[in-house]
Structure formats: structure tokens, C-alpha cells
Amino acid sequence: MKSNTFSFLKELYDGRNILSQLVSQQLILRYRRTTLGYLWSLISPLMMMSVMAVVFATLFQKDLKTFAVFLFAGMIPWNFFSSVLTQSGISFINNEGLIKKIYLPKAIFPLSIACALLIDSALAFLALFAIILVLGGSLSWAILFIPVAYVMLFFFSLGLGLIMSITTVFFRDLQYVIAIVMQALFFLTPILYKPSALTGKVAWLIDLNPVVPFIELFRAPLFLGTLPSSNSMMLAALYSVFSMAVGLFVFLRNEKKIVFRL
């Protein structure tokens, strides 16, 4: 297993040129021949979040500005997480032609998706951060924690993305199942509401939901201007290590089988 992991990493390193090509392909290609180009990557999530902020602030009878900051801070990690899982699922299916014709380290495909989405997310974060400042969000040193939060979120999502990429090849239904699961998980994750707001019979769902601490990692520095609780940090670190470990395990055991199943 150890030498397996080592040669896996070496292959990835040798394939870094392909990785950067695939990432730039993802980033640039989508907006070919559009006037606003890459700006769409920023505009569409911003618009979506603004609409949600207006609707739910009215619905919950909250102050729009405060709620917008609260919502934005939760949506950034959620959008990244959910896009990585959804897009990793079809990463091999979309590259079937390539995989069947030339040998490439397979992990490149889900990894390139996670990397491209990370760049998208970081830029959306900068744009949102500017908006948060305008809306009067609190600016504190805690903001310096955000890169650490991204690292944990990245590995947490990538680990699950690796699992999704493999399993979707074997069970094609998963690409549709995951969309529904993500929708459900969105409402079960305290993004629109505070973790303490979900009480009663379903409160235990919040405790079990592994995404919760990652929302907190972003929300505490951006909304409250404080470092996240050590409890959240520890849970997030634990989940991301666990996710990567299981992800790599599943991936390394199955990556050579997928070419026969595409």
C-alpha cells in the first residue's frame, strides 16, 4: 500500500503538466465566445446568492444586510463542496474517449475538477468579501484563517470526490442520485439558518452532518469576526483526513478497473 501510494504521487507529479492543461481547459473553455467570459463564474453564484438573501431575509424577517453576510459566508464552502462532488462523479464518464486511448494517471481527472473549482471559489470569495465589506461585515484578523479553512475543505471534498468518481462509473444512477442528495443535504446543513435553529426530532442530523464544521470554519471569521471554535477545527481536520484516507483507499483499489467499465 505504501509503495502504491508513493508511485501514485509520483505519477501525479509527472502528470502536473496535464493537470494544469485540464484545469485551464475547465476554467477557460466554458466561457468561450461569451462577451463576459470568465466573469460568468463570478456573476452566476453572486446573483443566485443575492436572490436567496433577499427571499430568505424577507421570509425569516431578518435584516437583509446581516443575513446576506451570514448566507454568503455559508454558501461559499457549500458551493465548492457540492460542485466537487457532483462534477467528480462524471469526470471519468466525460473523459471516456481519452481514458480508452492513452494511459494517464486517472486521479488527474477528479483532481483537475477540484483544482479548477478551488480557483473559481477563491475568486468568488474575493468578490463576496468585497461585497461583505460594503455591506458592513466585520473585518478582523480572523480572516487570515480562511486559507486554512480552504485547505481542509479542499481535502475533505476531494476525498469524497475520488469516491464519487469511481463509484459513478460502476453505478451510473449515482450521477442523478447525488443531485438529489445534495439538494437534501443543503437544507439539512445550517446554511440558511443557525445550527442551533434546527431543534426537535431532526436535531441529531446536524450533529451527524460532516459538512457542518466546514460551514463554521468560514462563517466564524467572515460573519462573527472570530476564529472558529476549536471543536469545529478539530472535527473539520478529522473529517478531511478521514475523507482523504478513505478516498485514496477506494481510488487506488479500483482505478485500474474503470477502463473496463466505461
Binding site: 494544469s20 473553455l29 481514458i99 486511448k101 492513452i102 494517464l104 467499465r261
Partner: protein, 250 residues
Amino acid sequence: MSSIQIENLSVKFRLYHDNSPSLKDYFASIFKSLRKQSQGSYSDFWAVNDASFEVKAGDRLGIIGHNGAGKSTLLKALCRIYEPSSGQVSVEGRIAPLLEIGAGFHPEFTGRENIYLNGAILGYSKQEIRGIEFEVIAFAELEEFIDTPVKYYSTGMYMRLAFSLATAMHPDILILDEIFAGGDASFMKKAKARMHDLIDKSNIMIMVSHDSELIRSLCNRIIWMDHGKVVADGPVNEIMDRYLAERENG
């Protein structure tokens, strides 16, 4: 010095009689197998079955056989696209799979962007690609159209670019599935010369072809495959004559 060693190589395909199993079928089959050994809805097919041979530096190996004899699967196993179901493949030297050129081309990308994308996929480093970029464009005669998306290319232009890029570097081990060259007569002539040059400079060449004259002229050894097995392995003319004689007699 390059070399390839193949020991008891087998590649198994699982043929599914219906579509790939859905989640429901998977769980259903778990329960079924708990009750009794379930009959899977697939059958195994050995595309390459217990093949062993060795290729040394200087070998120009032609692989022949009927359609479905496992020739292309064998090549793909050599290029690591298919993992052996059993047995081993060990390759020493930089291997260039020219199986299906242009496989990694992206229609929305310009010719130049595709040189970088496909070059990376073929395993060239960024500096190497920068070094060959102009030569590739010049050889493909695409100077005017290199910054146009390849989806607007004619088939000939597409083939020319793919061919020029795939043959721009000199690999130790050259793997060919039929000799390919598109374009008009003058490009074909140029491409053939380049192909021969590439073969001359390679350490090992392995090709699959149905063109017996081409194999006779390019190879010095033949492996004859049938139903996934190596039937014969030896000097070109001897094996080719036997193969053609058998085909005549049906």
C-alpha cells in the same frame, strides 16, 4: 536500451448482457447471493489469453491476425491502458502510443491550444512543446489556421495537425495501430517519409496492420495471434507465408 517483456499476459473483458448494473441490481444481487450463488448477467471474454514474448532493442515487430484476435488489446495492454488481468508487462524506455491520434483534441480549442493540451497528454513537457510548436505547425501546413478552433478544420487539416504532433518527438518504443496518414497526396508522401524516419530512429517498433506488404517491408519479426493466443512468432516471410496460406485455405 529498450526492451519489453511479456509474461503470461491475459486481459479479460466482462461482457454485460444488459446495461451496466444499476444500484438496485447491485443490492438485489447482494441479497440473491446471500440466498444462493447468483448467476451474474455477464460472461467473461479473454481478449488476450496467456501471451508470452519478449521484444528486444532493434526489433521491428508486426502483429497479425484476424479481426478480434486480440491485436489491439495487446497493444493497449503494452501502453498500460488495460491493466493485465493476470501476467506481467514490463517495459523499459519511453513508449509512444500512436493508437488513435487526435484523441485528446478539444474541438473548441484552437490548433495551437490543442498542441499544448494534446502534447501534455502525450507526455511532453511544456519546454518540449514550446520547442516543437513551430515545426509541428509548419509540417501540418496550418500556419494560417493555427489560431482557429479545430472544430472548423476539415478532416484533412485535423489529421495533419494530429499526425504532425504525434510524430514530433522520437520515442524509444513506437507502437502503431495501422499506419495512419490523411490529407492529400503530397502530404501523404511527406508523412510516409516522416513515419519511416521515426521507425528508423526508434529502438523498438511494434505495429498492427492488415497490410501484408507493409509489414513485410517494415518489420523483421511477426507475431501471429488468434483468439487471444500467440499462434506463431518468428521471421517475417516465414510466418506471413503461413498466415496467408491459411487464410487462403479458409
